[in-house]
């Protein structure tokens, strides 16, 4: 069974722990890393990648000191090793311009506004991870019970 990671980034600790809680059903299958800044996330991702692990999904806040979420996700989308990695922007304060940049430059797969609905975030995350697994050619069987079945069926057709 391959090691698959989910990265969550938010500079506010309380928000971060709420995201972790929402994703906890996935924790049995995937490793969930929480980071309080984009820089920290890049370091964590780098070391995970170096150990041959997969980074399936990055969920990031936008308004953070030093590096914004859009800047961070743009950087990821330009890196070859994170080419398949799915990205979710989770924010309460993005302007219209930020949103455009998120779609055009960071190429986010999904966009959540704060406050978000737990179930929705979990569903989208599951769908995106399932897509990642098929996109990267990882053996899906070990994860099958947690994956988004509609995506699995579609891909197996």
């Amino acid at each position: 069974m391959e090691k698959i990671n989910i990265i969550c980034v938010d500079d506010q600790r309380e928000v971060l722990s709420a995201v972790l809680q929402d994703l906890s059903p996935l924790a049995a299958f995937f490793n969930i890393e929480d980071c309080e800044s984009a820089i920290e996330a890049l370091e964590v991702m780098d070391s995970l990648d170096a150990e041959g692990e997969y980074i399936a999904l990055v969920i990031s806040d936008h308004v953070m000191p030093e590096k914004t979420g859009v800047e961070f996700l743009t950087e990821i989308s330009q890196e070859r090793r994170y080419h398949q990695t799915k990205k979710i922007l989770l924010t309460g304060q993005a302007t219209h311009q930020d949103t455009i940049a998120a779609i055009n430059r960071a190429r986010v797969e999904s966009y959540f506004e704060k406050p978000w609905k737990s179930e929705e975030l979990l569903n989208i995350a599951t769908t995106l991870i399932t897509e990642y697994i098929f996109d990267s050619g990882i053996e899906y069987e070990p994860f099958q019970s947690i994956l988004d079945q509609s995506v699995v069926l579609q891909r197996l057709r």
């Binding site: 600790r13 309080e36 000191p65």
Partner: protein
């Protein structure tokens, strides 16, 4: 050349002792719209011209005429023979005049009277023109100021309206969180008294460790206690330092579950408190909230602010040197708000500073309590410094936290309401905010009495 001409006019026309008068201060020389056939030259003293558009209107001062200037140029040469302004002597003045019956001096050499006085007329015209232009400029400036003020009032009222609505919602969250906390506690006490300590731990301390600290600690715990990665990470969040009490390890999953409930309640309480604070500060924009005033120690209010900002001050070296201070009669909330704003700003600007530090000191100087908050962040340039207390001015353009640009304008308003003052100094080493709050007179006597 002009000076010579002017001197000639004065010699020829305004040196006749029969056409000279002395006017005591306060006396009216000309009345607006009344008959005047004289052209006056101010020999000494000073006079002022007033204009009112209707009889009942307040008089507006339109010019001052010091020695060497002319009065009545318009009524004399326009031949309206009607004063355009009311002229009153500001101080005792000597005037010389000519009227329509005064003979023209050497017309064969200098031309008719109007020709001789052309420079005076043109000068008067230019003066009136300049006055009109200046008035237009002034009117525009005033109008702009008015517009901004009006915008700010509208914004303030709007914000206060929203704050009021939010206040009810936040109030409910706040009180229900408190209630829920008691209910959960009672319930646990009844059903699982052995897990109470974990819940309490979470509720009291919340999650103090940062994500990177947790990562490091989790690795350590995995090895020491032989537990799986997930539990180790959760345990690292709950107990970031020191030995792990064996009670955690007997049923680690349950212990962590209850700790998480406690932490969540802690976070909820913190978040609702934070919202109440924001709502309150926005409400104060719309109107002055009458808050209860009490005798309090400024040092205590600073400590309260530091407690509130605990989270933002992570990684910053905060040094406090408090002095023994006389008590002030003030609202604790307002004082805390001042410190929170200034210290929060300081912590925000320190994000790129290596070895960030904030120094807070208090002093009692004569009848003032002086508080300085210094940080070693980047210099605030002069342009910014000048605008720093203006409402709707912000450097937090990214929208970080609460970048409405209202913080320092609220601070200034509060400080002023206590009769105090606030100043900012900045260079490339340090930025200092200095606040002075007056100590009421009876309090000074009070301390003297005690000593």
């Amino acid at each position: 050349m002009e000076k010579v001409k002017l001197q000639r006019l004065i010699d020829d026309y305004f040196e006749n002792p029969f056409r000279q008068i002395t006017i005591p201060a306060g006396e009216v020389v000309l009345k607006q719209a009344e008959y005047n056939d004289r052209l006056y030259w101010v020999k000494s003293g000073e006079l002022e011209g007033f204009f009112s558009s209707t009889a009942k209107d307040r008089k507006t001062k339109v010019f001052t005429a010091p020695a060497g200037t002319f009065i009545g140029v318009h009524s004399f040469f326009a031949e309206t023979l009607e004063a355009s302004t009311t002229v009153i002597a500001k101080e005792d003045s000597e005037l010389a005049w000519i009227d329509t019956s005064t003979p023209v001096v050497s017309p064969e050499k200098y031309g008719p009277l109007t020709a001789q006085f052309t420079p005076v007329i043109v000068k008067e015209l230019a003066r009136r023109q300049r006055r009109a232009s200046m008035e237009a400029v002034e009117r525009e400036t005033v109008q702009n100021k008015l517009n901004t003020a009006e915008q700010m009032t509208t914004l303030g009222q709007l914000a206060a309206g929203i704050a009021h609505e939010l206040n009810n919602a936040v109030g409910v969250i706040n009180s229900k969180t408190e209630r829920l906390q008691t209910v959960v506690f009672d319930l646990i006490e009844e059903c699982h008294p052995d897990t109470r300590q974990f819940l309490e731990h979470g509720l009291l301390y919340g999650q103090k460790a940062s994500s990177s600290e947790v990562r490091a600690r989790a690795k350590e715990l995995m090895n020491t206690y032989r537990i799986d990665r997930d539990s180790a990470r959760k345990l690292a969040r709950a107990v970031p330092h020191g030995e792990i009490d064996s009670s955690w390890l007997t049923d680690i999953e349950q212990a962590l579950r209850y700790w998480e409930i406690g932490r969540d309640l802690h976070d909820m309480r913190l978040a609702s408190k934070h919202s109440v604070g924001i709502v309150k500060s926005v409400k104060q924009l719309g109107r002055t909230d009458t808050d209860t005033e009490e005798w309090l120690d400024v040092n205590d209010s600073i400590n309260k602010a530091l407690a509130l900002l605990h989270n933002s001050l992570r990684g910053i070296n905060v040094k406090i040197s408090p002095a023994v201070l006389p008590k002030l009669k003030a609202s604790s909330t307002e004082l805390v708000q001042i410190w929170v704003n200034i210290i929060k700003n300081a912590s925000d600007v320190l994000s790129h500073t290596s070895e960030p530090a904030i120094e807070i000191s208090t002093r009692h100087v004569r009848n003032m309590v002086q508080i300085t908050v210094a940080n070693n962040g980047p210099e605030i340039d002069e342009v910014t410094r000048r605008k720093i207390f203006q409402p709707n001015f912000t450097t937090k353009k990214g929208g970080l936290s609460f970048g409405l640009g209202l913080g320092l304008s609220i601070v200034q308003r509060i400080v002023n309401s206590y009769g105090g003052s606030i100043a900012v100094m900045s260079n490339d080493e340090k930025t200092i905010f200095r606040i002075k709050l007056p100590v009421p007179a009876q309090e000074i006597e009070g301390t003297d009495g005690k000593n």
